[in-house]
Symmetry: D2
Subunit: 294 residues, 4 copies
């Protein structure tokens, strides 16, 4: 019989992932701080809980998909956190992009409680999540990782095992977001130089992404940058800025300079400081154009 | 009847391209400063000339593939340059990675002479050139661009038209090399952070390049960086450092800051300063590891 | 009658400051985790306490001069922290270089306890401290700031008032250390370029610091860099790296990019990663020479 | 008897220097492309020439103070350059901020002509030049350097000898301008962080420059930055951007990364791209505020 799943956090990513779990036949209870976001899932057959604790009471697996480390810690081990209501042996699939140490710390709390944490971050935008085509990273206790596979398969097109350290998959996720940032800054500088030199911005984008950089990442982010229209919003600047700060702090902690990461974080900082929140984070590419007087 | 072609500059790239022109049936005369490099082509049927002027005397098309701007200008308009020996109406397919203004200046000289210059830079490493799978950029006078198509088709898998400005395709080429540099630095930082955090460097590379970054560029450069073995040499650090300086100077000339380009150029500068010339330019990724104390 | 002072933290800076308080006639009780460091002060008349709480029991003013935020919080509000033993109305002169929020948080704890915190960071190396020539920043409740003046005058040549916010003087201190970092990197790049171009490194240093940059900071740090001998140790790389990370994080928190600060922090990170701890932090200037192949 | 002097280039710096030469009793002939600028000097007793050649015909010493390398080469060895009109044994005191190689190349031309070049760059703003308080660098043939001393003394408060290489003093000058750039960026980041954290920008500037950074350079540039009023114009952004590009190119040529120099050059590039020419170059500090959303 299918594991009972609770899903906490129904933003654009979480809602899409929860929907796919439901479609795959998992009995699903959902919770979101803003209750309205749970409505579409109720209509598709999910049970809606009014507190995290209520949501997880019968769950074999609890997915969390939250904004940041603070929100994840609060919903897990905070005063109204779900961990105390969790069945022994249950698994927490922690999907948020957080510091490796956050997942490690929560994994300790689960161990003390008799439950498990498997870091389970996902790679892909909301439209990819909706299509069930995310890439999933997975790290934590081996047995729990094994038991989580069926649910991970319902949300993604492939799961990569990063071993026993519950922080490891978070490292991978942070590195992945960092690499996306390098694609954005790289394309922004290349397309802007081309434009300044008289080439057609969109035409050059098309050439690049049909030859050397024929890849969905370059195509999707590159399109936003080539056309300078940063819609729809995959993730807003403030959220990914937080991720880039985690990258920089993880590098600091591990005694490693990361000049590209510094620059991307600062591009996002300027973007946040300039106050245009309702755009995709790739909009930091605008800073490249502005500095060039365009 | 096929155009008669002269090919000047038989480094690893040039030799592969000349070979493919020969295979495609073009009558070919070749020239290289170091004559020994012409020998394999002679054995395959090419005529070997002892001066640039001699090489181009009957040519309809002259390909040049040289180390840098200075070498290109010297062989074209220098004291022993070929331009004076060129037939009226002949086309110079200028394939080297040079400043846009260098091609523009030479295009002027050709116009005065009654010949044409088409910037025809190529994207790809020597193995790609050998396979005839280069991507070709093309810009210059429309009629000449048209006449050059058959020869370009013999060396590449596709040609992209960048219009009439003989500098335009050079801009595109420089931007392309710059983007490769961002891939190298990005992968180096990502893999090194992963390594410092306890992940397996090669394993993480494999995950990245089988998911989000499933692309030949990320795979080929990423492999060198993941395994930290910078062989074979696609291009040595000093050559691409020159290209990155062209990028930075082109940006300066066009009033545009390019922070990623500065950093990549400086990585290559440190690599040149440290004096390890017989490695691929992706070896600047070593600087990332060294700064992390690895 | 002079205020009774407790001094916690007798590193090279703290010991020099405590000695000057003693010389100025303040009754002094000292505490240091490693007791041996208190011996010279005992010989000059200070009372030596064996715990922080014992040290502060009769104190009107408690100076703390510790390595980092964690050490300061531990000695103040930790399980064996001194705050519980403090007399109502006593003043905590917090001299360590810490995050503004750390002093703000501790100021709250003092308020709850009925005591006061005045951030009182100092500018200057150990030899400057020994000479009583530090510059002192001061911020916190007005009345407490006023009462602290006599003690501050005993350790410095001047005190600058930064107002009521207990975080403000910490901001100033962090900015000051950041500026020292810009002097080091700036001098390192300038002297190294001069050297690479054939000028005499030390001679050029002497010219610069006897003309435009005729200033004790440029002279003292510049000398270490010109002669490439990073002794004596004013502060080791790891300590100031921590400060630079506080700068970068404070900038992040306040939505501000700081490219120079990123670079200085990363220079120090590489220096820490390379593992040469017993040198002055200005030794990060070595990275400039190394990158230039010297 | 005093050397006869010709002075070519009467911008704000050149006019002030020429005036001081006149005051010191040197017979003076001046030339400027825009003749009106010569008028005040004529009124003080200078002869005004209508061509460079005419200006230098009787001169023992020719000072040049021009915008850039191109202008200097043109006026010296160009079609209407003065070198052909120069007396054998005359000295060219080359004061412009130019690439070391430019002075080396011109020194060769002088040697061939039987005259001498002494690089004689000056450190200081127009008001410092007017006060005769410039610092002067001097490099070139020993005998010529010796003969130039009296004239250099008339324009400055001290002359530093950089030896026989006519490029050496240019290196020193470029490094000096680079260091000024680090002061500007450093102060801009420090004051802006302080401001973002609630400190008073001007008050903090005053504290810094009356304590650790009590130095005319920090005071004069810092004042512009603290008050964010970039007047009067010591030198406009475009001119110093050219200098910073010379720094970066000299570093490139000598195989040396200079991250601070890259950043300063790019700050100036953005400033030029944004098109506000009639401000002091320290106005690139505005970029720091803008990136912080101020």
């Amino acid at each position: 019989m299918a594991d009972k799943i609770a899903f906490l956090g129904l933003g654009s990513m979480g809602a899409a992932m929860a929907t796919n779990l439901l479609k795959a036949g998992f009995p699903l209870t959902v919770y979101n701080r803003t209750a309205a976001k749970a409505e579409p899932l109720r209509q598709q057959g999910a049970t809606v809980a009014t507190t995290p604790a209520e949501a997880v009471r019968d769950a074999d697996i609890v997915f969390t998909m939250l904004t940041d480390d603070k929100a994840l810690e609060e919903i897990t081990t905070g005063p109204d956190g779900f961990i105390h209501a969790l069945k022994p042996g249950a698994i927490h699939a922690s999907c948020s992009t957080v510091a490796p140490d956050t997942n490690r710390r929560l994994a300790e709390a689960h161990r003390a409680h008799g439950s498990f944490l498997v870091a389970s971050p996902v790679f892909g935008k909301p439209d990819v999540a909706a299509a069930g085509k995310l890439w999933v990273g997975s790290s934590g206790p081996a047995e729990a990782r094994e038991r989580l596979k069926a649910a991970q398969a319902a949300i993604g097109q492939g799961t990569h095992n990063f071993g026993d350290d519950p922080g490891a998959a978070s490292v991978a996720k942070l590195c992945g977001n960092f690499l996306l940032g390098t694609v954005i800054e790289g394309m922004a500088e290349a397309l802007t130089l081309a434009e300044k030199c008289g080439l057609d911005r969109v035409g050059f984008y098309e050439m690049l992404t049909s030859t050397l950089f024929n890849n969905p990442i370059y195509k999707s982010y590159g399109k936003l940058i080539a056309e300078q229209h940063y819609q729809p919003v995959g993730a807003p600047p403030a959220i990914i800025r937080k991720d880039m700060n985690l990258v920089v702090q993880e590098a600091y902690k591990n005694d490693m300079p990361m000049p590209f990461a510094n620059l991307i974080r600062d591009r996002l900082t300027a973007t946040v400081a300039l106050g245009e929140p309702d755009v995709d984070w790739a909009s930091f590419a605008k800073r490249v154009s502005e500095d060039a007087g365009l």
